[in-house]
Assembly symmetry: C2
Homo-oligomer: 416 residues x 2
């Protein structure tokens, strides 16, 4: 894409009321627009990143047998009343609205109830399971405060998968599969080295533990204790001598860290299936409620965490797999000059090879182009100018490098 | 995909309160689930169709210079008050909600206001235009009645593109480009022969006409007058002698038809840019408000219209480009039998060739498999059984055909 075509502009300053580093950088670089606290639109560059994160998650969910669907935002109170999650005194972050006819509706904050209800039409027998359904759907949470940018928004895109199993053992088998898939996802999006499967409290669903995926970050709101050798962590809430003994971990191997929860997986038992009547007939003709599990990843949370943890003082540093473009091609020559024509040739060749490239063809001064490039954070910067032409090459700098190197055209294309 | 894996089941009956043909068939075939009147979840088969429609629209919008983005559902009343569209007395189909702090929020029914507001950060000069931004975003409309299935829902996915031009002429040029792109889209999704660019009233934005795209259907709520030779139509609301003269159409060439509006494009003039202060500095240093246009297609509307117009008494008939799968492979043999093993081989080969195939590997009786196949409506049905093996072939029937034909394996694969 030509940068003269891209409609967003970079900005020197983020809105004054924006306190989070992730949103500050993403707004300044033209990835997002702040509609209000905790509510952000995704501009073309931001949507490209979001879609890449989505596609990685989709591939890994399909690989473990997930089937994609799409549920609704508007929610009928009736099914939430059955699980006692309609009342604001029980669930305090609902947005609610009303039909023109006067009846109450919910604005979905999660989707256990509607999916359990849908599956009453599709699960009857033990032959209909196991079953794993997921979606990428916007969730709405009426948070009192929203100061973490796209990491904790009032409106955000989430992948939520729900598992439906015939018993505890079958559930547990998938749970471990999904945990492994999550580690792959965080690895693929570029957070692998910083992200730990983390033992957390069971909450109301299980007497055992549940699992979170926590990424080390000074911007994090959680405290975890990390065993870097074993590649596992323990959330502060379960950091007791007894639990560590159960988990086979030693206090002296654990380091306290701040972290961001980028994903969670947890057993739901039969709470929803029992309340909503999702039962199946087993091999012996006996009816039992379905055993469920829930597996979430917030896409904006992941994107925000990447910005928080990998950016530097000049701007964002995107991992290659989710960068909006792979190459930032910068021409310093005037339109029509020899070096500009050469840059156009490189642009065309990159496109022909299917390499995503943002071509800075704007009549802007060099300093501004370089600053924009550092701020936007595309992995490979390539500069074409009279100077590089003289040297018969291209000036290549990775976003993570301090200095640029002259490459021949052949060596440059060998990078891909 | 193996049908034994697909989690949805077909149903003999749709819910009793469902009166629309499109939703009845889509629910029975397992494409959608009715959450409440006008609110439908998309199950795996339905989502596959929706995504294909989305991708066709995306390609055509990108081809005319559209840039994809994603705005929010939650809306700040302040920007809507500036255009006088916040008050329920002015816009009567808002869903509204409240922040935990007590302030009002809108649930977006359209996105002119937020986009115009966003672009105040990105448009300053005539050099920043023309600019075309679009999104696939859920719209919420608080309709009093919702009886048309996914054709007129309270919550629905829409492609909305907005054009930002420097003057009337530049706007008009894009408007015609987009009209041509719309005809391509309706052609590609399989509605080309039934869909007419239709002259409609200008509404509050223009003294001239606007354009709708209307698909002939007895389920339609609109009345249009069609000139089939000229491939153009006129909405009843502007069907006057004077207008026909202006348009160069003759009454005797026009046939009255019922139709469904599948898309619309219309000028917005400077209503939103003036109200929200989206101005640009032209070549002469003069400030002017940006000239805008709006271009919508409801994806569910398109999908529902296809079901309404192309289905038959046995079920849905999907056009190839948007079918959930291209081939429905049906094995009548028992698992492990020679014919089942042969069907598995055909399944593998289709997949290797990248041809999307639903493989009915279920231990279900033949009659039920055939009925399901007609209901689901995949374009090509291929049956493998002891009988077809004897004849050394495969039994092929297109969904639009009455009778099946035996193909050799070579002839079958030559279809693709």
């Amino acid at each position: 894409m030509k940068q003269s075509f891209l409609f967003t502009k970079t900005r020197k300053e983020a809105p004054k009321d924006e306190v989070s580093k992730n949103a500050q950088l993403l707004i300044r670089a033209g990835f997002i627009h702040k509609e209000m606290a905790g509510v952000y639109s995704y501009l073309p560059l931001g949507l490209r990143v979001l879609k890449k994160i989505e596609q990685i998650i989709r591939e890994e969910m399909n690989a473990i047998g997930g089937q994609e669907m799409l549920m609704t935002t508007l929610q009928d109170p009736a099914i939430w009343q059955k699980t006692n999650r309609w009342d604001d005194a029980v669930v305090d972050n609902w947005f609610k609205t009303k039909l023109a006819t006067g009846s109450d509706l919910g604005i979905a904050n999660t989707h256990e109830e509607p999916l359990t209800n849908i599956l009453r039409n599709h699960i009857n027998s033990y032959k209909d399971m196991p079953l794993y359904a997921y979606q990428f759907q916007t969730k709405f949470r009426n948070e009192l405060r929203a100061k973490s940018g796209i990491m904790r928004a009032r409106e955000f895109l989430m992948k939520d998968l729900y598992s439906f199993s015939r018993g505890e053992e079958e559930f547990r088998e998938f749970y471990e599969k999904c945990a492994a898939a999550y580690l792959k996802i965080f690895d693929r999006v570029g957070l692998g080295a910083l992200t730990y499967r983390t033992v957390a409290a069971g909450g109301s669903f299980t007497s055992g533990f549940t699992d979170e995926f926590q990424t080390l970050s000074t911007a994090g709101e959680d405290i975890i204790y990390v065993d870097k050798k074993k590649k596992i962590a323990v959330n502060k809430e379960v950091y007791t001598d007894e639990n560590l003994r159960k988990l086979g971990l030693k206090k002296e191997d654990l380091v306290e860290e701040k972290s961001i929860e980028v994903g969670n997986i947890f057993p739901l038992g039969t709470k929803y299936s029992s309340a909503l009547g999702l039962v199946f007939i087993d091999k012996d003709g006996v009816k039992s409620p379905v055993v469920m599990g829930s597996y979430g990843i917030g896409l904006g949370r992941v994107m925000g965490t990447i910005v928080e943890t990998l950016s530097d003082e000049k701007g964002i540093v995107w991992p290659e797999a989710i960068a909006p473009f792979k190459v930032h091609l910068i021409s310093l020559g005037e339109k029509g000059s020899a070096s500009f024509v050469y840059a156009e040739k490189i642009y065309t060749e990159l496109q022909q090879k299917g390499i995503e490239v943002l071509f800075d063809d704007r009549p802007t001064r060099a300093g501004e182009k370089f600053a924009d490039s550092e701020l936007i954070g595309i992995p490979i910067r390539v500069v074409v100018s009279d100077k590089t032409l003289e040297k018969n090459g291209l000036e290549v700098k990775r976003r993570t490098e301090e200095t640029a190197t002259i490459f021949t055209e052949t060596d440059f294309f060998a990078l891909f």
